[in-house]
Symmetry: C2
Subunit: 452 residues, 2 copies
């Protein structure tokens, strides 16, 4: 059902029809519909509350979990105690924590007054973990069995607590809260009911620490194809799990951040439309300023060769082509290397292999470019043999330099623990602009001075 | 255990120690170790086979599933019938198909001669689906129950076939092979054993078609936080499922492709090191050539204003700064918009909102840049008021143009069903180089002609 249809039915007060149509929709799609209304100001806020109250009972709370914090805030402010209770019962604890982090103080206290003491203390614990740590994205709602439990007892436990947990498909075996094994529901189903759970649990399992970086946790989960990964404290006690859907969100977020950094933008956490014009400008301006000011370096180069360009003005018209080719060649290499490192295909120890590969690729590419451009200049522009040679040799030098700088700088950045993505297009293009002009004018001076 | 330790133990023939140490390793890590050996030529191929035979029985086949096709080929060629059988029993059918697609004909026939008739026919079916379709990434190994089954019978079925299936946590309810519902193991566990499965199954489920694009399938799975998504044919019969780990791989692959395209590289399927120098050059050269030749447009502009630049040579030294600022401003906008569209945050219908937002951001950024640069030129370079004004007004014009072009071109590309990522940095930078010089020289001409 489209947003327009929904609003029309609402306008015509056909609430029963709406309710029936809503039962056919997925909670994630209902949430998207609410976003559409609020983002585009299609209806006043109290329409959202009316719509929410029309939702079928079993869908309402689940839809809420998919909504943006802006809508959640509007709804929570309007909720009766009962409605808030229903939503909090549906939310997993990690989602509640994510929500609390976005809400103003009065809404937070309304929420906290509706959760029981044990949940409140778990929420407080989760709020303590540093941003970007495994602790900050984990949920404390997992199923564990004590060593000595029979499979039969495990199923009883799943039946009694499972519905409240984020996943029951991977369960954990603990000994005095220390994690000693991992067991899947499938393994439990295949086992004899009297078997002890530790006899079928896998003791050679992967776990992470609460303080591990969330990106590396997400990558670990993806590498080993896990549904969920246990998170332990320093005493090896299991305190939570990270599930695949949260890991997927982390990976998408990191990719978005890398795209932004590589385009010289300080990453923004909110979506494009939710970010104000001021925030957008603030995230873009610092890099633009830095790059603009560093471009003055190229001014030094052109000034130094002013006599040359004044006497051979055709060299000026080819400047943008030389700089462009350098920039494009460099960003090809830097992007491949940065991405390769991000997905763990390229490691620092490989830098000689990378260098050698890039040099060979650069030679192949640059010779082709030099020949094609040489033919173009010589036959179409009729700029003469010397200019043609100067430009062709410059292209070869510039492309090789660009590929070497483009591939090595991100690796160097990683080596000295800087973010390689920052080193991509923006930084490298400034360096290459300056160096390529220097090569170009130097080569031109040598050739033209000697033979002109 | 590091690769060096493994090879040392192998050298010293301490095979028993090796075997014990291998039991502590994860299959994915063992596969990485094999890759390390073959990629860096650390040992001859027959060492790989010896190492493989030392692996604990339960780990060997699973490690195999994580290996690169290059190693798999070496191993399969050396396998006994028994070893090949063990591996094929461990592989899920979609993994077998992926492997077959990479192998030479003689290896393929060795593989096919070891699978039973029904598997062989499933493999052939899967090989028919077009690349990039849901059919090509799905597995046919899922658990389904016929309408009318009791929960008790469902568990019997899971126990008898579950171990062979890629996931049992989401099962499917069918009526004459038509998919009518989805049920999770948790729902089965919570239900009374005599309940009919259709009474607890969710009939409002998400499914995709075999011909759907694999990227959109992966996004759907991620959007609805699903473990697995059913794939149906045109008659709504379920023919397979796509699981979250395969979806995660697809999303990572698409991200890598987008990074490549935005850096003007034709995407390569293999990893950086597995791709030959020739393939690397071939994937980068076409764009470099195209961009180099299109840069001749900027030559027309500089030629047209040759008289101006000859009389005011300082304008030349500021060219790279103007072009650089335009390029950086444009790629900031294009990257944000392309990424926003890729993660479904920005839609085509939003183009007026995007345009209005970008114009306001551009005005803010450009005025700051113009002021800072103006002060620098006027006070440090002492280029005079008119030059300062010309450059400052140019920056404002150029940044606004860059943000408009950078944001609108990817949306236009999507509108006419081209890939927006292609329109990013490479294409836009060429357009902006030309337009920014045109603006710069025109503004300079107007100001300098009138007042000089």
């Amino acid at each position: 059902m489209s947003t327009r249809e929904v609003l029309q039915l609402l306008d015509e007060k056909k609430l029963l029809t709406l309710k029936v149509r809503f039962t056919e929709m997925q909670p994630a799609d209902i949430a998207a519909l609410f976003s559409d209304i609020i983002d585009n100001n299609l209806a006043p806020h109290n329409s959202l509350i009316i719509l929410y109250r029309i939702l079928p009972k079993e869908t309402a709370a689940e839809s809420f979990t998919y909504m943006d914090s802006e809508i959640q805030e509007v709804l929570i402010n309007a909720f009766t105690d009962k409605e808030l209770q229903d939503v909090l019962d549906e939310l997993y604890i990690d989602d509640t924590v994510d929500m609390i982090e976005e809400m103003p103080a009065n809404v937070v206290s309304k929420i906290l007054s509706h959760v029981d003491r044990s949940t409140r203390s778990q929420i407080n614990d989760l709020l303590q973990y540093p941003k970007d740590s495994a602790g900050s994205i984990m949920t404390t709602e997992f199923v564990y069995f004590k060593v000595g439990s029979e499979v039969r007892e495990c199923f009883e436990r799943i039946r009694s607590v499972g519905i409240m947990k984020e996943t029951v498909y991977t369960c954990y075996v603990t000994d005095c809260r220390r994690l000693v094994g991992v067991v899947t529901v499938l393994e439990l189903l295949m086992a004899d009911p009297e078997t002890l759970v530790e006899d079928i649990a896998d003791t050679n399992f992967i776990s992470v620490n609460t303080s591990d970086d969330k990106e590396s946790v997400a990558k670990t989960l993806s590498k080993y194809d896990l549904h969920a990964i246990p998170v332990c404290d320093n005493e090896k006690r299991i305190v939570g799990i990270v599930t695949f859907d949260d890991a997927l969100d982390v990976l998408e977020e990191e990719n978005t951040e890398d795209f932004a950094k590589m385009a010289a933008i300080s990453p923004i956490e909110d979506s494009y439309f939710k970010t104000s014009v001021w925030r957008h400008a603030a995230s873009r301006l610092p890099w633009l300023l830095f790059l603009m000011l560093s471009a003055t370096l190229t001014g030094f180069v052109t000034n130094k060769f002013e006599v040359l360009t004044a006497s051979v003005p055709v060299l000026i018209s080819l400047m943008p082509m030389i700089m462009g080719t350098a920039g494009n060649s460099g960003s090809q290499s830097s992007t491949l290397i940065i991405r390769g490192m991000a997905v763990d295909e390229i490691h620092l120890k490989d830098f000689l292999k990378v260098l050698w590969k890039e040099i060979r690729v650069a030679v192949l590419c640059s010779v082709c470019l030099a020949v094609v451009n040489g033919l173009r200049i010589y036959f179409f522009e009729k700029d003469g043999l010397l200019i043609t040679l100067a430009v062709s040799f410059s292209i070869i030098g510039v492309v090789i330099l660009a590929k070497v700088v483009g591939s090595m700088l991100p690796m160097l950045a990683k080596r000295i623990k800087l973010d390689p993505a920052i080193m991509a297009t923006p930084m490298i293009s400034t360096i290459l602009d300056t160096c390529s002009l220097l090569i170009y004018f130097t080569v031109a001076t040598i050739i033209l001075n000697n033979y002109l």
